[in-house]
Point group: C2
Chain length 217, copies 2
């Protein structure tokens, strides 16, 4: 792996593990066993590094959100779509951990970050509209807007909230499946008579487990 | 007002306005027009100040959460209960703004903060159980647990999420009423046939508006 790529990977790992505010450029150079001068040759300080990581996060998230759910009428397909979303956020979780401070300090990512949130909300709304058109959801536009906002909020803060609650015994094990279940539990009561079946299927997938402890990066 | 009280009030105001990581002891002394030595006489640094503010926040929140909703079967009573909860969080919003970093730096408030989150979740669960016993909600224990978690998550992160989204034109105007509506929209689909009436009443209160821009502190 080229030095530039190694720097990016190790920074992501350190930021996720220690929290971005607690990691300095010197820490990153030390971890890579390179000189600060060499690091500086590739990235002019933490701001550029955070910018590079965010650019990658943004680009991949964009691809994920634009890819439609295979078949939105199949619960399993929605489940796996949400797993992909949560895994992506988990891989770059340092961005979310203290997001207000991050956006204050790195102003240039504020607008694209905001755009991503709106894209999340829009993607949730689009799926709800499809489910309504298929006669599965019985819900008006105003309530779809509220539901889409709840879904975006839950996706954004699930990892932080779960962490704060501190109820998980092992190292993030099951955190993604639990997040997916949490999101689907917001949708379930809107599918009327199908609700019981919907939640039973969701709980069955959840019980089976689709994700072990997410890969540590 | 005694100096100690003035320090507490001004710190809260500065932390809320600028964000706790961006405010130093010297900033606080300057704002009060006292010497750093005088500030130090009352509080040995920011850690003690944050501790004092958190202690007040905790104590008042405890009182709020233990006071039962007057009549949980009346939507208005739940509405005003939630307004009180959100106003309290808004008054101490710096605690929530970058909560992961805050709890990392001020370890002694980590456990009580976590306890508060669990109390929020338990309060939500208790209200749902009452509504089920009164025959208003049709929901099993597993789904009550998921719903109570969604309510606690929404209450915890609403102000941050709304802020990130950046859609509010004026200075926090309506942010609390919108948060209350968001929480009630989680409950609404579980009240079965009453759902339409429930949301209509909620939207009517929301439209009337119960809170102007929250008092700035």
């Amino acid at each position: 792996m080229k030095t530039r790529e190694r720097i990016v990977h190790v920074s992501l790992e350190l930021f996720n593990r220690e929290g971005e505010p607690n990691v300095t450029s010197v820490d990153i150079a030390n971890e890579l066993d390179i000189s600060p001068g060499n690091l500086y040759y590739h990235f002019k300080g933490k701001e550029e590094l955070v910018g590079e990581l965010f650019a990658r996060f943004y680009e991949q998230f964009n691809v994920i959100l634009r890819a439609p759910v295979q078949n939105p009428l199949r619960l399993e397909d929605n489940w796996f779509y949400l797993v992909v979303v949560f895994e992506h956020i988990h891989a770059y979780r340092f961005l979310y951990r203290n997001v207000s401070l991050l956006l204050q300090r790195y102003e240039h990512i504020r607008r694209p970050f905001r755009r991503l949130l709106h894209m999340k909300q829009d993607a949730a709304r689009a799926i709800c509209v499809q489910l309504r058109e298929a006669g599965i959801m019985d819900i008006d536009d105003e309530r779809i807007a509220l539901l889409a906002r709840s879904i975006a909020l839950t996706i954004t803060y699930w990892l932080n909230f779960d962490n704060l609650m501190g109820d998980r015994p092992g190292d993030d094990e099951g955190i993604i499946d639990d997040g997916v279940l949490q999101v689907l539990s917001l949708v379930a009561p809107h599918v009327g008579a199908l609700q019981r079946e919907f939640m039973q299927t969701a709980l069955a997938i959840h019980h089976r487990g689709t994700t072990p402890a997410p890969r540590r990066r």
